[in-house]
Structure formats: C-alpha cells, structure tokens
C-alpha cells in the first residue's frame, strides 16, 4: 500500500491489522490513518473485505464465532482490539449505519429514542429534544414531525435510511461507519442522503463503504482502494481518482472489474 499524503490529526489508525474468519484471512496487514472530521471512502470489488474492515472498528465481528483479530486499531489513544475494551462503550462512540435501513418496528420517535434510552436517559423532555435535534440533523424533521408516533416501517426506503442515520446520531458518536448506505435507494433518496453525509462531516469523522465511484468522488476527502483483503492504494480522493498509482486502481475506477 502507499500512503500518498501523510495524514495529520488522525483519530483512527490501524497497525498491521489482520483479520481471520476461522482460517480465511480476510484482512491482510491493514495500515490506515483516518483524519478527523473528514470523509474517507472505502472502495473495492465485492468480497475484498470492506465490510469486514468496517466491522472490526466497532467490534461487530465479535458476534461471529471463530473469528480472530491481530494487530491494533487505535482510536484516540486506545487500542480497541484489546479484550479489555468494552464493545458496548465502544459502539456508543463509533456509530454504524447499515446497507439496508434496519428500522425497528416501533414508532419514529421510539426509533430515535432507543439509543439514548438504553444509555440511561429517562427524562421525557430531554428525549423529546434529542429526537427533534437528530431528526433535524438527518434532514427528516420536516417530513415526519407531525407523525412521530407512526410506525417507522411505514416510511419510504430513503426516509428509513435517514431515520437510521438520525438514530445513530442520537447516541452521540464521534465516528460514523457507513456500509453502502445508499445502495438500496433510488437516485433522489441517494442525493438526499449524500447531502446529509456532507453536512455531517462538520461534526463527525466518517468512513463510508460504497460501490458507487461517482459517490466516492463526490463526497469523500480520502479514498482507500481495497483488493483481496489488502489496501492497494490510499490517498486524497482527487488524486486517487485522477491519477492512480496502480493499474488495478485505475481499472477498478474505470469499471473494468468489480
């Protein structure tokens, strides 16, 4: 791999990260630095390990039996791969948005309030404020403010995805991991979610997996190109897209494989 720019002020840094599903070596020697309040896009062909990498950062892979992680992931000055790190606390700091909007079959309000409630917030007024603030942050408030008590499953796909983003924001994370958040959405909803992601950059460090090259080019500051479990190329998005170092990167971006 090749770090084109040396990245200052990194909040997340991986060090020789290896990940195994039983015997399958899914992540090989990942050394990446993610800069604070920037958007980093992870691109690469299907099965190259993007989701796996994302899920090592909030320890969601812990749920799968027989997995093994080696190396380190530094968030601030903590190595979050250490067994002493409580994944529950970690996930409050590192929020995740999934490919398919997994809204709970509760009301819109209850979906947003879920995180804060499980973290111990009981005050109804505080919860009301949290719900409004985060629905506004996710650009959904105007569309749903009159029926917060309606079931969230009745929203459109794009609205549901923005709701899951709002739900994640409500847990006050510092880092947002997004795994193909727009791949199941129509172009208009995608544009809305992209706009939203851009505004979120002011407050969050965002790492987003996408199969959409235009999307990566449009919204990200940095791009990492994954290939067969390795980071083939990493750098500023503008550079990587216009002037890739490796022919594989160039071919992938041009849509020749993947």
């Amino acid at each position: 791999m090749n770090v084109v720019e040396s990245i200052e002020r990194s909040v997340i840094q991986t060090e020789d990260l290896q990940f195994y599903y039983n015997t399958h070596h899914a992540l090989k020697n990942i050394n990446l630095k993610f800069e604070e309040k920037k958007i980093t896009a992870l691109i690469g062909p299907s099965g190259c390990g993007k989701s796996t990498f994302l899920r090592t950062m909030n320890r969601m892979n812990d749920l799968i039996p027989g997995v093994r992680t080696e190396g380190a992931i530094w968030i601030g000055n903590e190595n979050i791969t250490e067994p002493s790190i409580d994944p529950v606390e970690l996930r409050k700091k590192v929020g995740m948005v999934f490919q398919h909007a997994s809204v709970f079959p509760f009301s819109i309000y209850e979906n947003i309030a879920y995180g804060p409630r499980t973290h111990g917030e009981r005050n109804k007024k505080v919860l009301d404020e949290i719900v409004e603030e985060n629905l506004r942050a996710a650009a959904l408030w105007d569309e749903v403010k009159d029926h917060l008590d309606h079931p969230a499953t009745g929203l459109s796909g794009g609205q549901q995805q923005r709701l899951t983003i709002a739900r994640t924001l409500a847990t006050k994370p510092e880092i947002l991991l997004m795994d193909e958040p727009t791949s199941a959405l129509d172009p208009i909803s995608t544009a809305k979610v992209e706009d939203l992601i851009r505004t979120l950059k002011e407050r969050y460090t965002i790492i987003i997996v996408t199969h959409n090259m235009q999307q990566a080019a449009r919204i990200s500051d940095f791009t990492a190109f994954f290939l067969n479990g390795e980071v083939k190329e990493y750098g500023q998005t503008a550079t990587l897209f216009t002037n890739p170092l490796f022919s594989e990167t160039k071919d992938y971006i041009a849509g020749k494989f993947g």
């Binding site: 749920l63 996930r91 409050k92 929020g95 499980t118 994640t168």
Partner: protein, 310 residues
C-alpha cells in the same frame, strides 16, 4: 429455421395440453378435498349448535341459569319447572385452569425460548429442541397419569385436602402445554431479523437490552399467539384434567379442593346419558361452549396475525 420454431411451438402446445389435463385432475381432487372438509365442518357445527341450543329451546332451560347457576342436575327440574343446568362451576374451573396454566407456562416458555435462541443456541439446537419435540408428542393420558401418581400425592402431603383440584390440574396442564408454547415462542423469537439485533448492538446496547427491548418487543405478537395456542389447548384438554381435578361440580374455595371443568364433566357424563334426553342435551350445550371458546381463540390468533403483517 422458421419451420423448426413453429414445430417447437406446436410441440410445447401439445405438451401443455397433457400438462393441463393433469392440472385439471389435481385441481378437481383438491377441490373435492376442500368441499369435503367444509361439509364435515358444517355438519359438526350444525350438530353442536342444534343439539346445544335445544337445551334452551326444547327443554325450556334458562340461559341465565346456565351461566350463573351453581348446581348441575339436568335430570331434575327446579321450582319453575326448568331443568337444573347451572354450569358456572365448570366454566369457572375451565377458565381458572386455563388462565393459571398460561400464567405459569407463558413466562417459562418464553424464558426457555430466549435461552435456546439467544443464550445457548448450540445446546438449544442440539439438546433442548429434540427434547421439546419429544415432549410435544407425548399423549395427554400419560401426563394425566403422571399427575395422578406424582402431583396429586405431592399436593396432598403439602396442603390440606385430597390433592385433587385446580392446582393439580394447572400443574399438569402447564407442563403439558409448555413444549408447544416453547416451540412456538422459539419460532417467534427466531423470526426477528438479525439486522435488528445488529442495529441494536451497534447503537451501544447490551445483549440483555437487545433481547428485552428489541427481540421480545418485535416478537410480541408471535409470543402472544404462542400463549393463546397454549390456552386453547389447555381449555380443550379433557383426559389429563379429568384424572387430577377431583370432578366435584361445585365452585371450589381454594385451588386444592376438587373441582371440575367443562371438558371433564363432558367426558364423565357422556356414557351415562341417552341421545335426545335433557341430560344429553345439556352436555351438548357444554360442547357448544367449548366450540365457541375455541372459535374465540382462533379469532384472537387471527387478529394478532393480521396486526403483525400490517
């Protein structure tokens, strides 16, 4: 080329024809089965309704007495010349035994289902699931027999009385419906999508919070359905209950006194009445209550099912 295509089309048309014939045959066969089932159901409904209502129409029985009277002696008439058909003790007995069984078996079944699906899925699949399937298949007379030889003496030693009664019936029925309710509750819990569990954990909830606030909440309609299925089974069970309840046609003052249920009176009385007599008709009225109750349970399950899919 052209000719070949036409030939192929002809060929498929021809084949389709023979396929259509078997299809028509299959359709008529299934249609016949449907008609037969519907006819039998209608016949049963007609029989139970006509017989069950004739107590009130032909034999001049009072509906009010039936639901509020506490003495059951259909062969005799009261001072008003009406048959003495107070079924309240049995109705109370049936409802008590069903309700308490559900209260005991419901939480146990849900707990077991959580254990099998969330806590120890491996042991759950390998050990508990086969055991439960085995338990579902045990005939009710065996449960009754165990109740008679173990539960009744046990209660007799611990509490005043003979050991027969609602308590014994409830224990036997709870154990009997437990496997069914557990396996239905397990289905309900396992049908909660993994994406919801992951979403919950990703929001920083603990496993228990996920189970209580997402899994159980999402599975609630299914869990309710499981419990109601159990209640329907408990309400309709006759043999096992009759063996341990004591069969006294009074409203018991405690759970440890002999009592009876609608089903136990039915099975006890059936052999001793003659078709067409008022004693026999009165039993049909009890059967009608059972039928209406099972209809009621079915409707509730339906309604929950509809609410779930909506």
């Amino acid at each position: 080329m052209m000719a070949k295509t036409i030939k192929e089309i002809e060929h498929t048309l021809y084949r389709k024809n023979s396929k259509m014939r078997t299809e028509r045959f299959g359709k008529s066969l299934t249609f016949l089965a449907v008609v037969l089932t519907a006819a039998i159901t209608a016949a049963i409904l007609f029989l139970v309704f006509s017989k069950g209502l004739s107590t009130f129409i032909m034999n001049d029985g009072s509906v009010k007495d039936f639901f509020t009277g506490t003495t059951w002696n259909p062969a005799e008439v009261n001072s008003l010349g009406k048959p003495i058909i107070g079924a309240l003790p049995f109705i109370v007995g049936s409802l008590a035994i069903t309700g308490i069984s559900a209260l005991i078996a419901g939480p146990l079944a849900i707990g077991a289902a959580i254990f099998m699906s969330e806590i120890a899925p491996n042991a759950g699949k390998r050990i508990m699931q086969p055991v439960i399937e085995l338990l579902v298949g045990i005939p009710s007379v065996v449960y009754g027999f165990i109740g008679l030889s173990v539960v009744v003496p046990f209660l007799r030693d611990l509490f005043p009385g003979s050991g027969f009664g609602i308590a014994a019936g409830t224990i036997v029925l709870s154990v009997m419906i437990l496997p069914t309710v557990t396996s239905l509750a397990l289905d309900a819990i396992q049908s909660v999508p993994r994406s919801l569990r992951e979403a919950s954990l990703a929001l920083g909830s603990t496993r228990w919070q996920m189970i209580c606030k997402v899994v159980l909440k999402t599975a609630k309609p299914g869990l309710l359905m499981a419990i109601i299925f159990g209640m329907a089974r408990a309400f309709g069970e006759a043999l096992a209950v009759q063996m341990v309840i004591g069969n006294a046609s009074v409203i018991p003052h405690s759970l440890f006194e002999p009592a009876s249920t609608i089903t136990s009176i039915l099975t006890m009385g059936m052999g001793y009445t003659v078709m067409g007599q008022v004693e026999n008709n009165a039993l049909w009225s009890l059967a009608l209550i059972l039928l209406l109750m099972s209809l009621f349970f079915t409707i509730i399950v339906r309604m929950i099912g509809k609410g779930k899919s909506a």
